[in-house]
């Protein structure tokens, strides 16, 4: 860890603080917020759905493969699929995928605006550029990514159930009994806390990387790469931290 970490961390905090001014026009702000919610939420739905369905299916098949003992009830497969999906696979894998899709998009969009002087144009007009550009993206992420997490969990469990049913690994009843047997509301609550945290990381880190892009097209690409890498590493770090603190 060198001094540049502290430089970037300090600048990141100042960037976040600079967004907290009241928006120039609330109706413009809400319109931008809804646009971003559509982009992040609806735009990410296909990739989240595909990823979740297959992760659930693979979890069922691989858990069945590891349960070689006939003494263990097959309902355990349903338990493992639902719990691991809610605790880890839903929020973490979904957000790692979204760091690639949403994070890279945010960073390249803002980065491109920076190098083509569009951010300078906003500032010359007297508009708070971080508040105008990044704030709606961060809020939209915080609202939509937890919703995507719920969808991911649902589809992942459904994928697991379908894989079990279609391949004859376990019956419909065995899966449902297993999934319901150890369900705790806190597990879902914990999953949502993770989704909120990861959503903030993805959107704020990507906005920061894009906003401070310097140079040309090559640097926009570099900023997007950094946004994805740093978001992913921070997601994994906070995944561990939240598990240590809350479980």
């Amino acid at each position: 860890m060198n001094l540049s970490f502290f430089y970037h961390f300090g600048r990141y905090l100042m960037f976040l603080r600079s967004m907290l001014y009241r928006p120039e026009k609330m109706n413009v702000f809400f319109q931008r917020l809804f646009d971003e919610m559509t982009k992040i939420g609806i735009g990410s739905l296909p990739i989240v759905a595909i990823t979740s369905l297959f992760i659930g299916a693979v979890t069922t098949v691989q858990t069945a493969y590891q349960l070689v003992s006939g003494l263990i009830s097959k309902t355990v497969i349903g338990t493992i699929v639902s719990d691991s999906t809610m605790l880890e696979l839903g929020p973490t894998i979904t957000c790692l995928v979204l760091s690639g899709k949403v994070g890279a998009h945010i960073s390249s969009e803002i980065g491109n605006m920076r190098i083509s002087e569009q951010i300078d144009a906003l500032e010359v007009m007297g508009i708070n550029a971080p508040g105008y550009l990044a704030m709606p993206k961060i809020l939209a992420g915080i609202i939509m990514i937890p919703i995507l997490n719920i969808i991911a969990i649902t589809l992942s469990i459904y994928g697991g159930y379908m894989a079990g049913e279609l391949s004859g690994i376990l019956t419909h009843e065995q899966f449902i009994v297993g999934a319901q047997s150890t369900f705790k509301g806190f597990t879902l609550f914990f999953s949502m806390i993770k989704a909120f945290t990861f959503a903030f990381i993805i959107t704020s880190v990507s906005s920061y990387q894009g906003y401070f892009t310097k140079g040309g097209a090559l640097e926009v690409g570099e900023s997007s790469t950094k946004a994805v890498v740093y978001s992913s590493v921070l997601i994994l770090f906070f995944d561990y931290l939240l598990a240590e603190l809350l479980l």
């Binding site: 120039e24 413009v28 083509s116 569009q118 144009a121 500032e123 010359v124 007297g126």
Partner: protein
């Protein structure tokens, strides 16, 4: 009027502006000329608030930009229009939305009033029927004109033009020069133009400031330029190096 008093600016250890003192007058085309790396763009960025000098004062009609609070600064900035070198039109917005943008953000106009104002600004820069196009669908010269239309959408007092002719053919360059000149005189705007183009200087320059290595080397009118050229070697070299003598 805009006045710069003892402006100094450095980037890390390298000083790029040295004790700049200058005045830019209302209703006139104030041109800043000089070789690349001479400090013209940094000086313009200091004036519009994109860079902050280490010392000195930048007064917009007696309001010192460097001592205003954030809110006061924003109010002054709303009186500023800027034509960027690369036009800086918002890619994701149509031409109409680009020009409407400052009106939506800062005026209390109704939708119909905003539409009328957009059409007026487009007509003022001799453009029509491109309202629904995106910036990527129009030519470089048209983008510059849209940039001017966006800059004048609000009732501005100060117009900054950074290399308004860069990347344009000579005929379009003259059209842009003429348009900037007309708008400056018509609205009594304090207009500051960064340019390398000596044709612009001789066509529309009312007050000219020659910068060399981060300092103001000469300041005067277009009529005085040929006399100054004989006395100042750097200015003579700069003018002779251009295509227009």
């Amino acid at each position: 009027m805009i006045e710069l008093i003892n402006i100094n600016k450095s980037f890390e250890d390298k000083q790029v502006l040295f004790d700049i003192n200058a005045q830019f007058f209302s209703g006139k085309n104030n041109l800043i000329i000089g070789a690349s790396g001479g400090g013209k763009s940094v000086m313009m960025k200091c004036m519009v608030g994109l860079e902050r000098p280490e010392s000195g004062h930048i007064e917009f009609d007696t309001r010192d930009m460097l001592s205003l609070d954030e809110q006061q600064l924003r109010e002054v900035r709303r009186e500023i229009g800027m034509l960027f070198q690369g036009t800086a039109l918002f890619d994701s917005l149509t031409i109409e939305q680009n020009i409407e943008f400052p009106l939506r953000m800062f005026s209390k106009m109704t939708v119909a009033e905003r539409r009328d104002r957009v059409n007026f600004c487009l007509q003022r820069v001799n453009l029509e029927n491109i309202n629904k196009k995106f910036p990527s669908e129009i030519s470089g010269g048209m983008k510059k004109r849209v940039g001017i239309a966006r800059a004048i959408a609000l009732d501005i007092k100060y117009l900054f033009c950074d290399e308004p002719n860069s990347g344009l053919d000579p005929i379009t360059s003259r059209l842009i020069d003429a348009l900037i000149d007309e708008i400056t005189k018509e609205y009594g705007i304090t207009n500051i133009i960064n340019s390398h183009d000596m044709k612009t200087v001789f066509d529309i320059g009312d007050h000219i400031l020659f910068m060399f290595k981060g300092a103001v080397r000469w300041e005067g009118s277009r009529e005085d330029l040929s006399h100054a050229q004989k006395e100042i070697k750097e200015l003579d070299e700069f003018i002779k190096a251009s295509y227009f003598h």
